[in-house]
Amino acid sequence: MTTQTAIKNKKSKGKLSGPKYPWLVHTVLILVSIVMIFPLVWLLSTSLKGNQQAMMIPPEWIPHPVLWSNYPRAITYESKELGFIPFLVYGRNTLIIAILTVSGTVFSNSLVAYAFARLKWPGRDLLFTLTLATMMIPFPVLMVPTFILFQKLHWIGTFRPLWVPAWFGGAFNIFLLRQFLMTIPLELSEAAKMDGCSEWTIYRDIIMPLAKPSLAVVALFTFMGVWNDFLGPLIYLTNQNTFTLSLWLASYSSQNGGTEYGLLMAASTLIVAPIIILFFFTQKLLVQGIAVTGLKG
């Protein structure tokens, strides 16, 4: 402990030097990279194979012939039976839910987090503690009564159970945004108030623009959550033409014990790709946001 205190008291400037054995670090990193990336490469390669080649022993790495047609086939799979093109309809459904959920999440949580971080009101701290505590309640506990609630509202079979709750805040996002909003000096608000700004104007025109990176993180994570969500659509969506992409992929793979692997992998690729592309365009923001929003509390 004493060395630590000593370290803290010392003030020196300079840059941390690179690793002692850069080649060792690189070797490890490259090995890990291979393990990490291999399944994705395999996914891509299989998505271009015919069923025969996909199940070949020993497996072949390079698709031959390259079956680009797996993709249009996956997209239009069963479109004859269903009377619509499943990928497009399910993609549309997923997007509708995502748009409504993401806007609701950003809007409601920023308001609520603003109230928790920057306003004073009786019962605030108590409610915040309670909010944090509810994060420990496992989803399944609430699954059944929530289902019954939506049943009583006659919302089963509509998209509403999937996005309406987003408009009323959520514990984790409130927590994240509050952490960030607390870092913005209160003086900023006070100065604005002197100028006669209302609380709403301060929220909309001063604080929210500053909070953009953290809002973006919340929006992105919410979007990914909707894109990946399986249990929610599984319970609440009853009609085939209201399904989402995740649900489609699962039922696609379970029909008659599965379909052709090439097609299945092509369908999987189609669902994975948008998320990865989205990540590529936003990764700087995301990493920054995670660091800023920070888990520093």
Partner: protein
Amino acid sequence: MNKRKETLTALLFASPWFVGFTVFLLYPIIASIYLSFCDYSVLRPAVFIGLQNYSDLINDSIFKQALSNTVIYTAAALPLGLVVSLGLAMLLNTKVKGLAFYRTLFYMPSLVPLVALAILMQFIFNGQYGVLNSLLREFLPFVHGKSWPPNWLGDPRFSKLVLIFISAWGAGNAMVIYLAGLQDVPVQLYEAAQLDGAGWCSTTRNVTIPMISPVILFNLVMGIIGTLQVFTLPYVISNQGSPMRSIYFYTMYLFDNAFVYHKMGYACAMGWILFIIILLLTLLSFKLSEKHVHYGS
């Protein structure tokens, strides 16, 4: 007057959460507690049966199996994920070249939707034509044995291991959070340690770990909550947690009770037992960490 107006504004800002908290948390919580004391099959009236659901659970061997599966899985996957993600973050924090590249690569697997991941892994780990076994046969031709190479997902001795491995594959998420924490550690601390002649081991033990201990605690608690509720991956990968229910986890049995066996009350009782387990483990983590977690200067 002014103060009242201020309070009113604050309450308006927080109002979405009053609704959300009451309707989507408080109501389901109370309903769920009540239902856990009932026999309830959704379409017929709920019958109050006191503690019977709980006493039935004690005698339910499938419940015990699902619980022990979940505990074993958590006990392995949680520390493994922690070590892997922290390890990777520390490697990347050595000012090695190509940080952004590796970070992207390591993060990508955790972007893959779970349903797609399940399907992909089923294919890779297939006992007959899976690519993993082909590699094993090729590179380890000298290994022979009755169950070599294993039928990974069809063998109860290996199926859990596979899931644990897959969970580690998604370590990228926690890694990014650790990395953010690590980059916050003041450089001076490392330099001072170097001046003191401390090696890598002692620097890690005395500087790195204590400085990011709040992040570790955060990831640990989130990990406990998430891992104990593992559902989508084994649900899609296996049929009823087959073989021999070796990957039949708590939430899967809860789901089956609610939506396949139509025993909603029983499912609610299961949910509350899970809540108590999570609560105890979380409190335990906080208690144990009291001495070790170091909250900034």
